[in-house]
Amino acid sequence: MQATTLLHGIGLRQPHYREFRALRPALGFVEVHSENFFNPHDAAAQVLAAVREDYAVSLHGVGLALGSACGLDNEHVQQLADLVARIDPVRVSDHACFARAPWGQRGIAHASDLLPIAFTRASLDILCANVGRVQEHLKRPLLVENLSAYLDFSAREFSEPQFFAELVRRSGCGLLLDINNLYVNALNAAAPDPLQAVCAWIDELARLAPAGLVGEIHLAGFSAQQGLIIDDHSRPVSEHVWQAYAHALGHFDAVPTLIEWDEHLPTLSVLLGEAARAAALCAARRGTSTEAAA
C-alpha cells in the first residue's frame, strides 16, 4: 500500500478504522493528529502501529502552539519526539499559531485551539526559535501550516506570504500549505474575488520562497456559522478550493496532498473519492511537467 508514486492521502479517523483496515485503499499516506497517539499504551496506539505497517504516516499536531511567546511545553515536545521515534512518520507538522499564554497563579493556560499570531518581526523571532527547538529535538524538519484566522492582529510588518517565506528561510522548516484556510480567510475578509485573492497569495509565496518549500498541501471543506465561515473540515472541498489547488500545483509541482475531514464524517468511499480527485489533478500536473521537460 506504500506506493511512493502516490501523493494523495486522507485523515484517518476513528469511525473509519475498521473499514479502512479491511479495504486497504491505495494511498500515498494517511494523516493522524499527533496528540491522539501520544499515549503508547492505549487502543489507538495499537491501531496506528498496525496501519503504519502498510502506509506512510504524516503526523499533524494541533497542540504545540509554535507561535506562543511564552515558549513551548517541554513535555508536549518530548511526547511528540517519542511518537516520532515509534512511528517514523513521513512528515511531521503543526501550525503557525499560539495557544499558550501566562495565566496568573496557574502558570499557563492553553486555549485548545489555533489562535492567530501577529505578522511582526518579534512574532517571527518567536516562531523561528520555537520551530528550531522542536526540529533540534526531533532531529528532523517540521512543516508549519498557515492558519484560518477569525481575528487578525493589527500590528503587521510582513504580508502573510512574506512571513512564511522568512520563516522557511530562517528556520529551515517547510510549509504545509492549507488552501482551504486561505479561502476561508478570503471569505471572512469579504474579498471581492476570494479565488483571485487566494491565487494572489500563492503567487506571492511562490515568488518569495525557495523551490520545494511546500512539503504538503491540505484541502478541506468549511461551513457558515453565525456570520463567519468556519474551517471545520465538515464538507467536501469547494470548487474554488479545487481551482486554487490546481493553481498551486502550477507553482509547486505535484505535492503530497491531504483531504482533511473531521466533522460530520462521510463514508470512507466519499473521502477516498475526494482524495482520488486530488490524485488526478496531481497526475495531470505531472503530465504537464513531463511534457514541458521533454
Partner: protein, 269 residues
Amino acid sequence: MSAPGIAAETERQRRLLAAIFAPQADAAACGEVCQDGARRQAGLAAYRGNGLAHACNALRMQFPTVLAMLGTQAFDALCARYWRACPPRRGDLAWVGEELPAYLATVEDLAQWPWLPDSARLDWAAWQTSRAAPPRISAADLQRLTEADPADLTLQFSACVGHLDSAWPIVTIHQAHQQADADWAAVRQAIAAGTGQTACIWRPLGDPSAAVQIEALEAATSRWVAALARGANIASALDAAGAAFDFAAWLRQAITQGWLDGVVVLPAE
C-alpha cells in the same frame, strides 16, 4: 530577539487568551485587531466556541458517569464553567479533565449531590487506567515472594489498577448509570444509608481495547490494599486485612490481571 518585542507579543497573546476565557464575551478586550463591530464579536465567539467544544468533547469521554447523572445539557454547562475556572494547562486534551473532580466539590449548586466529586474521581481513574502502561512485574519478583520473609517485602501496584475510597456507594452509582434497567430504588437506599465503597478499577491485561473493569471491594480486601498503599509490609498488610482475606486468591488474580509492578524488599529498619 528583542526583549521589548517579545514582551509586546506576550501581552498581545495574553489579552486575547483572557478574552477567550472570560465569563462574558467582551470584544473590546481582545486587544488591537483589524476587525471591528459585529465581525470582531463573531471572531471572538468562534474562538470561545472552538476551544470549549474541544474541551467538552474530551470531557464527555472522560466522565461518562457524571454525564449520565447530569444529562447532556447540564453537563455541557458545567464544562463551560469548569473550562473558564480551570483553563487547560496542556495542549493534549487527554488531560483536560484532570481538575474536574476537585472543581465539582467547589460548585455550590451541585452540593445536593455530594457524591458527584467521588463519581468524577472514579470516572477519571477509569480514564487513566484505560491509558496505563503495562505491568512491569518479573519472574524475579515472584521468586522473591516465595523466598523472603513477608515482613521484609511489600507489593507495588501497577498503573493498570487503581483503588478509590469513598464515603458514598460510588460503584453502585456507576453501575446503575451503565444499565438500562437499573434498580434506582436500591441506589437511593444505598445513598441514604451512607454506605461507603472502595472501588477497584483495572484494565484487563493484554487488551488495550477491552473495557475498564470497576468493582466494589469487600472490607477485608479494602483494608489489604489500603495497607499496601500506605507502604506496609506484606505481613502487616495481612494483619490489617484480617482472617477473612484470601491472600492466595487475591495474588492469583493480581498476577493474571497485571495489577503488580513489583515485589520490593523493604529497607532494614
